[in-house]
Each structure stands twice: as C-alpha cells, then as structure tokens.
Amino acid sequence: MGEIVKTDALIVGAGPVGLFAVFELGLLDIKAHVLDILPKAGGQCAELYPEKPIYDIPGFPTITGQGLVDNLMKQIEPFAPTFHYNQMVASLEPIGTAEAPEFRVTTEDGDIYETRVVLVAAGGGSFQPKKPPIAGIDAYENTSVFYAVRKMEQFRGKRVLIVGGGDSALDWALNLQGVAERVTLMHRRDAFRAAPHSVNAMRELVREKRMDFVLGQVTGLKGESGVLSHAIVRGEDGSTFDLACDVMLPFFGLTMKLGPIAQWGLNLHENLIPVDTEKFETNVPGIFAVGDINTYPGKLKLILSGFHEVALAAQKAHRYIFPDKKLTFQYTTSSSSLQKKLGVS
C-alpha cells in the first residue's frame, strides 16, 4: 500500500489469455503487471478443471488445464511479468487523453497502479465464494459469518461451525482446532472432496472428541443484531435441531461474478464487454477486453480466440505506448531482435 506502481500495461486476470497477453505485449517491449483475485495463476483452467484434458489448443492434441497454465508461465518467463495475487480491482479512473490514454487503477486493498493501457482478461468475472442458500445470512456476514479466514486469531475462544466438504473446509477445520474453543465440521454426507490426509486427520480428532462432525445442512441462523447464537440444522434423518455456535464459515466453492468491472465506464452487453475485432478495444480508448469477457459478432469463447485477440490488442497498445516508434511485423522464427527478447539468440 502507499507506493504507486507505474507500468506500461496492466492485465486484469491471470487466466490463459491474460498470461499469453504478457507474451504478445512483451514481444513489443511492453512491460506488464498482472492482477488476479485468486492466489495463483491460471484462472478457470487452474481453479475449475486443472486435471481435465483440453483438446482444442492448437499443437496440443491433449493438454490438461494446469498443463496449459504451466506451459504459458514458462513461455512468458523471458518477459518477467509482475504478478499481484489475491487482488481485486476496485476502481479505474482515466487520467490521460484519448490519444495518450493513462489510467489509475485502485485495488480493494488500496494498492494503486498507473498504467498506459489496461487489458481486461477477466474471463467469466472474478471468482467469489458461493453463498449458501440460508435466509437472512446477509445480516451475519462479516460479524459472525465469514467466507474466508484472514486472521485465525479472530476466532480464538469461539465456537466455530465450518460447513462444507472440500479442501477449504477441511483445512480450516484442522487449522482452527486448538485456536477456536470448539470446531464443528458439518457436511451433507460422510464423504469428502479433500486431500485424504486431511480427512484422516479430521476423523482422528473427532474420534478423540476434540472436534465434532455433524451430518446435515444449515437451513437458518439465529442471533441478535448480526451476532450468531445458533445455526438451525436439518440432519441426515430429516430432523431439525439448533446447534450453538458463535461463528460460521461456509466453504461451498467459488462462483464467477463480474464485480466492479461494471462500474468502469465500459459499455456492457449481458455482462460482456463489446469490442471491435481489429484491436479488441472497448469504448474507452486504451482499455482492451480479451478472452471470454468480450463480445463481438461471431465471438466464440475459446482459449484460442483469446490468444488471437491479445496479439492484435498488443499492436494497438504499442501505438499508444510508443507513438513515435514504427512497428515492423516480425516472426519469432527469423527475427534476431525477437529472439533476443526471448533469450534464445
């Protein structure tokens, strides 16, 4: 916080298209910083289907989501992009002109970036925690209900109810055991989509009666002015009972939401950003939208479309950033200057 980061290009989203944008910009000497809300690169490929094979990446008869991300990270290494993870862009303010655009971008944590161009490569939007379908849950959020753990200490001495059966639920149940007064893990079935050693560790703690496991689903919450006292639980047998707790941590995976992008002054069409097909630029000069988040006649939401889009967007970005430099089209197979940039000459 505090210091302003200055960059040529700011890429919003570290999915496959955002990563390949680093490459195409880099070939044109444009330095990039990359922001993502997730704690790692790869976007949907890494978050939704790391193990699933993709069959339509040119040159790869089959490659997994994570495999593609790993390859892209290797491919962009020569351009040494700076990644900023766990960052959500809160606002974007134009500080330049249409001919010489510049933007001040502020994250939710208050970090500030000043950039000549912005490439929005945000896919389906930002990943955000799924909210469980519990009436009135909003009133307890950030006082007694949390979708992420930032500081474990805030739960010291509390009766913590963790709901879910994935890695996040299991990891936090184990981590908070010993910090919280009592940890109760609740899941709708007695099987978990989590690392087996975490599941075993949890079962061991339950056997030793140091942790509780309850089969069921939370259907309601009780408590005064946002302070939780009980969760109303529907058990496996259909019975309903109250479970005393001070804090509830639901971990039901992630969903994608457009988020603050809607407030950036960009034209939107059904949560997508319309662009031209020459430069993939939005209605705001200097802001490009690439990959799944853009729309234009004939758009296909394919990774390969995004790769094409960033190559063309980079050409226009070059004109903004280096208005006096002539851009000659070159091939990586034959251009000694490109090969030098790639570190292979």
Binding site: L48, Y49, K130, P132, P133, G166, R193, F252, M256
Partner: protein
C-alpha cells in the same frame, strides 16, 4: 429424439427434444432453458447445471458417480434428487424425463 421436461423454480414447464447420446445439460443449453448456466461447459467441474430429478425418475437413471457427488457439494440447495445435468446421459430410457431447476445456480 426423446422428450425432456424442465420445470423452473416458478413452476413453469418447458418440454424439449433431446438427441440420444447427448446430455440433459446440452439439451437445456440448445433450447435456452433458463436456470442452467453450465459455466464449465460440461466437464463436471462447476456445479452450475444443477437440477432436481423428479422423484418418479430418480431410480430410472444411472446414479451419480463419485466425481459428480463431489461437485454436488458445491451446488446451491442440494436435495434428494439433486444431480448435475451434464452427467445425465440422454437415452431411450430417459424419454419423458422430468427435472426441475433450482432458484439459482450458486
């Protein structure tokens, strides 16, 4: 072609024809059935094509595989009959299948 009926959370019913060998999710997308998002495109990776299979049909379709059960943990408002429609294969046996869509997909 077989018939599949989708009932949305307001009770409105829509019947569509689906090709054998495709999935219930694909039939929903091809016919623009509201309430099915299918963010991951049918990879059993997102739980946004969640449906409730009608009670009369639950035992007539093959049960969920462990991978689908795991993804269902992340679906919205899971009940008996909850399935991911990308994992329900359309066959001659499913002619007349009735599924409901949840109020929202996560």
């Amino acid at each position: 072609m077989v018939q599949i009926t989708f009932i949305d959370s307001t009770g409105q019913s829509r019947s569509v024809s689906a090709e054998e060998g495709s999935t219930v999710m694909e039939a929903a997308l091809r016919n623009s059935i509201p309430g099915i998002e299918a963010e991951c495109g049918g990879a059993c990776a997102c739980a946004t094509c969640h449906v409730y299979v009608d009670d009369a049909w639950v035992s007539k379709i093959p049960p969920a595989q462990p991978m689908e059960e795991d993804m269902l943990d992340f679906a919205f408002d899971v009940r008996t009959g909850s399935r991911l429609s990308c994992q329900i294969r359309v066959t001659g046996e499913t002619d007349g299948l009735v599924v409901s869509t949840p109020e929202r997909q996560g």
